[in-house]
């Protein structure tokens, strides 16, 4: 670490001309990075501005003319939220996402604890099976599970149950993998000492392993929350009633009705983005960690 810092702190330019020379030497880098920054920001800014423009303006001029005729409205949001059902869909997204995050978090933590700190036969084989399950695509579940849910007479396909169960089950291999790999790095002495003092597995899990693993559990929780919040496919398959569908599904329906009503579509698209953006900006560190760890999923 220190070696790296020593070399990055190079001699500071002393005079103005030195500084200018250095900037000129680096200018291609700055120009390219500036261009990349624009290409990555402008499309999103475009949709954001359009979501606040009156739809009459949207139809007559491009969003970039906003500089010359700055007119804004909240009407698009009001319309998608109230008349087009995005308000209800927003709540549905929450109803789907919160249990689909908490359930796998709890269940995967428990399983990861057993795989890391409880001795039982075939433990490594069990873990390898779970590593293999990481790659099972959700598509193999669609037909048997939809058929099964439909025939079970439980109404799970129309009351959130199927979405919760499917999201939970398909999140487990990754969660168990991630958390088990974190749990085994906890100090062995600590856990053995607790055992010698007579602590039960439940006690060790609750008072030692979970509190010491908050960063890993948080990273997985954020990853899973955003995964479910942003998901379209599972909701299309397992949430088969209008009144329980999340925003992602609602937007695809809006797209069918208003293919060129960009003001409405932009507002709807942005409503989906708000929560992840807040999470991203406020919890960026955990988010990136979760994502880096997620590079096996």
């Amino acid at each position: 670490m220190t070696a790296l810092e020593d070399t990055t702190v190079r001699s500071q330019p002393r005079t103005l001309s030195e500084r200018l020379a250095r900037m000129a030497g680096k200018s291609p880098t700055h120009i390219i990075l500036g261009l990349i920054g624009l290409i990555w920001l402008v499309p999103t800014i475009g949709i954001l501005i359009t979501s606040f423009r009156p739809s009459a303006d949207m139809r007559s001029t491009g969003w970039w003319t906003i500089l010359f005729e700055p007119r804004f409205t909240l009407g698009n949001y009001q319309r998608v939220f109230e008349a087009e059902g995005m308000g209800g869909a927003f709540l549905n997204s929450l109803f789907i996402t919160i249990p689909s995050t908490i359930l796998p978090l709890v269940i995967a933590s428990m399983a990861a604890y057993a795989l890391a700190w409880v001795k039982f036969p075939l433990r490594d084989t069990t873990f390898l099976i779970i590593v293999a399950m990481l790659m099972v695509p959700v598509q193999v579940g669609f037909i048997p599970l939809v058929t099964g849910f439909r025939e079970s007479g439980t109404g799970l396909l129309t009351n959130y149950g199927a979405v919760w169960l499917a999201h939970t089950a398909y999140a487990l291999p990754f969660g168990i993998f991630l958390l088990r790999n974190f749990f085994i790095t906890l100090p062995k002495d600590l856990i053995e000492a607790a055992r010698i003092d007579g602590a039960s597995n439940v006690g060790i899990f609750r008072t030692i392993v979970v509190p010491l693993s908050v960063p890993a559990i948080a990273a997985y929780g954020i990853f899973q929350f955003l995964w479910v919040w942003n998901d379209l496919l599972m909701a299309l398959v397992y949430a088969q009633r209008n009144s329980i569908q999340p925003m992602t599904v609602k937007v695809t329906q809006l797209l069918g009705t208003y293919a060129t009503e960009w003001s409405l579509l932009a507002a709807a698209a942005f409503l989906i983005m708000i929560v992840p953006l807040v999470v991203f900006i406020s919890l960026q560190r955990y988010f990136v960690q979760g994502l880096l760890a997620g590079s096996v999923k």
């Binding site: 070696a3 070399t7 880098t29 990075l33 290409i39 990555w40 402008v42 999103t44 475009g46 949709i47 491009g62 969003w63 269940i107 399983a111 057993a114 795989l115 700190w117 409880v118 001795k119 039982f120 490594d124 779970i130 590593v131 990481l134 790659m135 695509p137 598509q139 193999v140 579940g141 669609f142 037909i143 048997p144 599970l145 058929t147 089950a169 291999p173 085994i184 055992r195 039960s200 597995n201 899990f205 942003n230 998901d231 379209l232 496919l233 299309l236 992602t248 797209l255 060129t260 960009w262 932009a266 709807a268 698209a269 989906i272 983005m273 953006l277 999470v279 960026q284 994502l291 590079s295």
Partner: protein, 316 residues
């Protein structure tokens, strides 16, 4: 160091409270919920789907056995899935295009960007900007880019810019020859940040002495990039590439919202075909065959992961 086992508490019985009772109750209790869910919702459906691919599967049931009919139809009689002519087309072929172009461009772009970003003070900012699409739903990304690609130059940014150069207006998403390239570009846009962040962490791990030594010896920047940086981060590159390949095999949301597989069926990918054949069309046996193709394509990655995990376990 010989065993591949992770550290294990060395007590005789779990919890140490029931001497003589060797049945691992604790493991059962802690693993039970996960095991049950994985067995019912993951393992059983996998077997069911593979077997259903040899059945007509009306209503998702085993109605009548058809042997390899679904499979033969999939690979020889369904131009929407695979048409081997010149040029080839179909969903499976589109996945090949995605794997070749999306993966290579994303990795290379991510690597170059990671190297360039280390030279400026706003490194964290530029990485955050490029990483941003990772937080956004593919559904929203799709709308953002449908808007950019909109054929009307008074609406779509791309055609407005092309209009300045007196080109256009073009409908990239409405033309079977361009639609896949337009989609791949969006895919790259969405994933470069992921590649950049992972590769940037790896590049930071390269000893700066190595780079300085090369510079002192008169190596040019392209030489340093290709002969030092790329070989030294080859393992993270392979991990990123494998992740991107998996993304391609599972790719659905972006295609569904941007083109719904169209125009015609020209931008379908296998995950889209699976959904389309199974649900709107109700061809469950056929859909099961496509799901099985997806599973088979992911088996090599499964093996790669298991090997990688085993190697890591031995190192511990």
């Amino acid at each position: 160091m010989t065993a591949a086992n992770p550290p294990v508490a060395a007590t005789k019985a779990d919890g140490g409270k029931r001497p003589g009772d060797s049945f691992p109750w604790a493991a059962l209790i802690f693993l039970g919920p996960a095991g049950l869910l994985l067995a019912v919702f993951l393992a059983f459906p996998t077997v069911y789907t593979v077997i259903l691919s040899f059945n007509r599967g009306r209503g998702g049931e085993f109605t009548d056995w058809v042997g390899f009919d679904n499979w033969i139809r999939l690979f020889t009689q369904d131009p929407n899935f695979l048409r081997l002519g010149f040029p080839p087309s179909g969903a499976l072929w589109n996945n090949v295009l995605w794997i070749v172009f999306y993966v290579s461009v994303t990795v290379l772009f991510g690597l170059v960007l990671a190297v360039m970003a280390t030279r400026v003070r706003y490194e964290a900012f530029i990485k955050a900007v490029v990483f941003l699409p990772q937080a956004i739903a593919a559904t929203s990304l799709a709308i953002i880019w449908r808007f950019v690609y909109a054929p009307d130059p008074e609406t779509g940014l791309m055609n407005a810019i092309l209009g300045i150069a007196n080109v256009g207006p073009v409908s990239l998403l409405g033309n079977p020859d361009t639609v896949n390239w337009a989609l791949i570009a969006v895919g790259v846009w969405g994933s470069v940040g992921f590649a950049t962040v992972i590769l940037s962490a790896a590049i930071k791990g390269i000893s700066s002495e190595v780079l300085e030594a090369a510079r002192v010896d008169g190596a040019t920047e392209p030489q340093i990039f290709w002969r030092i940086i790329v070989p030294m981060v080859s393992l993270p590159i392979s991990v990123v590439a494998v992740t991107l390949v998996v993304n391609v095999i599972k790719l659905f949301d972006l295609i569904f919202v941007m083109t719904a597989g169209g125009p015609g069926a020209s931008s379908r990918v296998i995950a889209f075909s699976m959904y389309q054949e199974a649900f709107p069309q109700g061809q469950f046996g056929y859909g099961a065959a496509i799901a099985t193709v997806m599973l088979l394509l992911l088996v090599p990655v499964m093996i790669f992961n298991i090997r990688r995990f085993r190697a890591e376990a031995v190192q511990q």
